[in-house]
Symmetry: C2
DNA sequence: ATGAAAAATGTAATCGATTACATTTTTCAT
DNA sequence: ATGAAAAATGTAATCGATTACATTTTTCAT
């Protein structure tokens, strides 16, 4: 079943069938109707490889994230797929594992696949040293991490403000020896750290530098950092972690040592996770708008695909503070 | 940059270059070496659309799951993507939402995309009424749910045995009024239900039918079912839920009513979730080998792609009982 | 009614690989 | 050394759409 069959059955040329199907050129209404009827009757759908070969584009978009098992990315991915589906595009999923080599390999793969566009959560290395030419390779939207070059579409959150809000919440509840466990070597971690300091500054206070820890943003990193903090001669009376993975590890360390929350130590974190409302006390979190990030990125990508000349936009989304019981009940 | 350029630069024909690259036909070693050197020097990579158009296959596989936000599928997906990457294939991700129409649409999409193969977690409707011709459309591996027609590759777990093991564990701890919340209208839910009954039978007991509930396997279903159970004049002294989503809802209902676990009610479930080790008491679970399911399915798919004549296999993987504190500490 | 401009449609080239078939080269038994 | 068989290689067709360019038809001002 190919376009030639439809053309013959409709009594027009293949070019006209193609024009009807693409919808980009005028065709007389009666001809259009006839062709569409035949297409439907014969249950024809165009060969994507042929279309792609000739027109040098596909209806696939690439989504490159660190790890789909991270609920943050799963939610982003879900949103991207929903948007893609509405546009009749399919999404090719890639896990970079924060590994710049894998990331590069996948970016090349997308090139080979002729992807219509890419949504990328860049590795720290790429974000810090963003190549202008990457964006000129085709439609691209950056998510989650600010890149050094701002001349590219991106969707990020207001890390600094969100961290400040969360820290302020703790300070307001009377905690002052607040420890901070931040993801090391990432723009995101740095911004959240800055927000943390900024909240202290606003309160006329200075955090204890011994309680500020930067570790790789993985579960075991959070666990090790928290274990270390609890062993300090003068341990903190509260902790903030800068990601869901770090929080999981840190909270596990707290549970290992049977430290009472919030009486002995208050706890709060970035990222809503399936477990944060389940523990007792339930954990106070800053919830990132994960679905909205994916959705916005998807929509921006399709706008850029439709109009490559469109000036790049940076969208900053806000986080929500979900107050639960892990930081006490005052004031 | 196309094959013709490589052919000219290597002093051979395009056919020979193609043969070198596909590796499927003999080429004299010195010619092969020369061609590979030129390919490398010119950083050539073949146009996938052209290859796909002519050879009627691609290096993409489709993965159709209910929802990537479900950690079960996220883990399966991760495994599939890892295997695909090793074979230099990319994976197209689709969320069916348990909706047979969406599922059908995606299956057609995979056809249009000329996917080299499909890994499918079928909707209940499809699983119960499996079309033989689906499998003849190309390489296909079914996961998670047994399908009515066994003449297709599949990877499932031993639901019956796992449910029996979990129920037995509870009975052994002295609980007898055990409630069961099972996913409605799914083969998986039914098998787990059967295993539940089977454990009772082995113990010479009969479960109270009023405590057996079947609901749609979603968070709100679990919450509603558990809320109802707790309001019974003669409530259960233990509950088992048949999936992670149901468990989340059910446990939330238990927390809403401040019911003590395990003293007032014991709790255990299918599926390891991020929160199950985090609560106090931590939740006893049957852990499905999620990564292994995806990995096995991926490997089976590539074997079938390599050899379409291979007789179909059904692989059954075992679950692991992770005993924590939610079912008491006896015996 | 007429002719120029615009719209609709058709013809045939094209995208870049693979592969059927043809030809040349090599191998090997005699 | 010779000829048949096998291996290596080349030529050109092919996959099925889109699109540049050509042609035909329609519109519309006069």
């Amino acid at each position: 079943m190919k376009i030639k069959d439809i053309a013959e059955a409709s009594g027009v040329s293949t070019a006209t069938v193609s024009r009807v199907l693409s919808g980009k050129q005028n065709v007389r209404p009666e001809v259009k109707e006839k062709v569409l009827a035949v297409v439907k009757a014969m249950n024809y759908s165009p060969n994507r490889a042929a279309r792609s070969l000739r027109s040098k584009t596909t209806s696939s978009i690439g989504l490159i994230v660190a790890d789909i098992q991270n609920p943050f990315f799963a939610s982003v991915c879900r949103a991207v797929e929903d948007v893609a589906q509405q546009h009749n595009y399919s999404v090719i999923l890639c896990n970079s594992d924060e590994n710049p080599d894998k990331e590069k390999q996948y970016l090349e793969l997308m090139q080979d696949e002729n992807a219509a566009g890419i949504i990328l959560a860049p590795t720290t290395k790429l974000a810090d040293n963003f190549q202008e030419n990457l964006a000129s390779n085709g439609p691209l939207v950056i998510i989650d991490r600010k890149v050094s070059n701002t001349n590219v579409d991106s969707v990020v959150i207001n890390n600094n403000a969100a961290a400040k809000m969360l820290t302020h919440h703790m300070l307001e509840h009377g905690y002052q020896r607040i420890a901070g466990i931040f993801g090391a070597r990432s723009v995101t971690g740095r911004e959240r750290r800055d927000g943390f300091f900024s909240a202290f500054r606003d309160a006329g206070l200075t955090p204890d530098e011994n309680l500020i820890i930067e570790v790789p943003a993985r579960e075991d990193g959070g666990h090790a950092a928290m274990t270390g903090l609890l062993q300090l001669p003068n341990p903190p009376d509260a902790v903030i972690t800068s990601s869901g993975l770090l929080a999981g590890g840190a909270f596990r360390a707290i549970r290992d040592k049977e430290v009472a929350v919030p009486h002995a130590i208050a706890f709060a974190t970035f990222d809503e996770s399936p477990w944060t409302p389940m523990t007792r006390p339930a954990i106070t979190v800053v919830k990132q708008p994960t679905y909205a990030i994916g959705q916005t990125a998807g929509e921006m990508l399709f706008k850029r695909i439709a109009n490559p000349q469109r000036p790049p936009r940076q969208v900053v989304l806000s986080c929500e503070l979900i107050v639960r019981q892990s930081c006490g009940i005052h004031p």
